[in-house]
Symmetry: C2
Subunit: 372 residues, 2 copies
């Protein structure tokens, strides 16, 4: 039987795509530590450590802050499934693939979804969102802070949150590609639910999804009239598991929790300010290098993500062929564009442990050789 | 900041509870292998290996066989959310905690749920299920093969599946504590959806959930009229990701997939028959030892799980105190009872890599010392 005979022997990839990013040796070691049970007193302390470290990363004091046993998409679904009741008006701000996915999941959980769109790669003006909300008030507004499909960083989150709250709504913010790589200030911005993923700027393995819920959002969840369509992602039950006296809900992915804790310790040891500066510095180095080889960036620098850069392909470049050569001849992973940007851009991640000057040098060197 | 200073240093627990079970060294090593991307051609081969190995474990040829990026509870929810349409009659057979959970999730996804119950620890007669279905036909029947809360193995699954099909229904079977530890014959039994979890008799870390879907169940999902309430657990989209030409759906937990593949290779190398015999033999050894120290088993031997044994506590035994001593003085984890069986039984797992004669000896020795 073929799969049995083949030993696991993954190639040593340099992960410079939109995630997963490289995992630091300390985190890989934590991953392979012997397991304790998911209700072991020692494990409860680990969960509590993760909560404390996540509050620092999210810059929040939200009580309900934890990591879901799923990927970023599970957190997106948890936010919407808990917050939206069937028939409630939702304003979905769509400026890329993940904004679109939020709109789709909001529809599936029963929301009455209105879409506000700008072309992929652009960002929203506060006034445009304010106007949409005056035209049709919404109980929930969904927005992507860092669009992994375009490389754009949505600015002015605080002003947008204020516009939501002014008309009685709550703001869900997707921070999948920002948490741990650029400023995410949940309390200062007054965001109601924010979530992320373990394998991006936090550089843990994929499979857990940090989420934080404001007291205001907790109150809306508490006062639901209709039953939640999900049990696995029921935040009220999860909060009871992530507590000093844990009530069984599901078996947490123990090894991933070890790894996430270690990755968050690395974030905390480096310090948020230094970490953001490192991401910015290595990204600037990459941008300069890309422009030098005639690969200008899609997104204006003022709203450009340091964690994910999206150079436009010059005419004549064979997108798939170049990426295949990068992978096969250089062991470097980058990604292509999605949807309207397919074939038009590359997506290059410098996230967490992947954000290092030597990786920028390696990638630019390989691109110069291939494109010469 | 306290959590930052404490190094990860879990105690060397002997995991003899209801899961997670001990993880073999080869599987821990696979877990810590360097990561490739989730769309890397090398990773697609790994997913395909997992599918092939899972088909062997489930004894099925079902095309739609994969592992969800979540725990056993996510698979329970996936089965129900995909199969049940709002208002459809569901018969939930409840003989323990997890049967009850299936009923609760069926309700949340909109099913019109009727419960058929026997006391915890007992199993169902085929005729009782047949009668319930004649009284009120059901489109979906839920049943737990191996009740982790009681230690009972539900027999005669093939006859129960036939009773379901005869009146136009489909059978969902929970195999969380059976897959890889005792016979699970999905095709021979004609089960429509079966699922399990990575951390029980397969002895991989928790965080992935094998699931297999019969062509008949696929057809019911394809002909749904109402939208699925979940995106994360949408089996149709997941099947497109688990394919030769994968369409992005979410970022699979790469490290856990490495580990699950390695754990399944161990199952395949040992062979199902030998593996089941090992589980049975070590369980018999445990049962004899428990009876010798006046801890008779709750479940009659004919329907007793080899993977999870549930001795009844003699009067005067302080449940929590004994388990605390086992954990603190001997580093052994076993679990207490749930619900109506709280304080009345222990739950002792001999699953996968934990099912070894020396572990039986160690546990019995520790119990003799504590209870003397």
């Amino acid at each position: 039987m073929p799969p049995v005979d083949r030993e696991l022997d993954p190639s040593p990839r340099l992960l410079l795509g939109p995630g997963p990013s490289l995992v630091a040796p300390r985190v890989l070691r934590a991953l392979a530590a012997p397991m304790v049970g998911h209700l072991d007193p020692e494990f409860i302390v680990i969960l509590s450590d993760i909560q404390a470290l996540l509050r620092t990363a999210f810059q929040t004091e939200n009580r309900l802050t934890l990591a879901l046993s799923g990927t970023g998409t599970s957190a997106m679904e948890a936010a919407l499934a808990n917050l939206v009741e069937p028939g409630e008006p939702v304003l979905a701000c769509v400026h890329g693939f993940f904004g679109d996915r939020l709109a789709e999941i909001a529809r599936r959980v029963g929301g009455d979804v209105q879409r506000l769109e700008v072309p992929w790669g652009q960002t929203f003006e506060v006034e445009a969102i304010g106007r949409a909300l005056r035209d049709r008030p919404a109980r929930i507004v969904t927005l992507v802070h860092a669009e992994t499909s375009t490389g754009a960083r949505q600015p002015e989150i605080a002003a947008i949150a204020e516009a939501c709250h002014r008309q009685g709504g709550l703001l869900i913010l997707d921070c999948v590609t920002s948490l741990g790589g650029l400023p995410v200030e949940i309390d200062a911005w007054q965001v109601d639910i924010a979530y992320s993923a373990s394998q991006k700027c936090l550089s843990a393995p994929p499979g857990m999804a940090p989420i934080t819920v404001s007291p205001r959002a907790e109150e809306k969840i508490r006062s639901r009239k209709s039953p939640l369509p999900t049990f696995y992602l029921d935040l009220t039950l999860l909060a009871r598991y992530w507590s000093d006296a844990p009530a069984y809900h599901h078996t947490a992915p123990i090894s991933l929790a070890y790894a996430l804790r270690e990755a968050l310790r690395l974030v905390s040891e480096e310090g948020l300010a230094a970490r953001f500066e490192r991401h910015q510095k290595n990204a600037r180095r990459l941008w300069q290098g890309l422009e030098d080889i005639d690969l200008p960036l899609l997104v204006p620098e003022a709203v450009r993500l340091p964690s994910l850069s999206t150079p436009k392909l010059a005419p004549g470049i064979d997108d798939a062929a170049v990426r295949r050569r990068l992978l096969n001849d250089y062991n470097i992973e980058i990604a292509g564009g999605f949807g309207p940007l397919a074939g038009a851009i590359w997506r290059i991640g410098l996230m967490g442990h992947s954000s290092r000057p030597e990786n920028v040098t390696t990638l630019l060197g390989a691109l110069r050789e291939i494109l010469r």
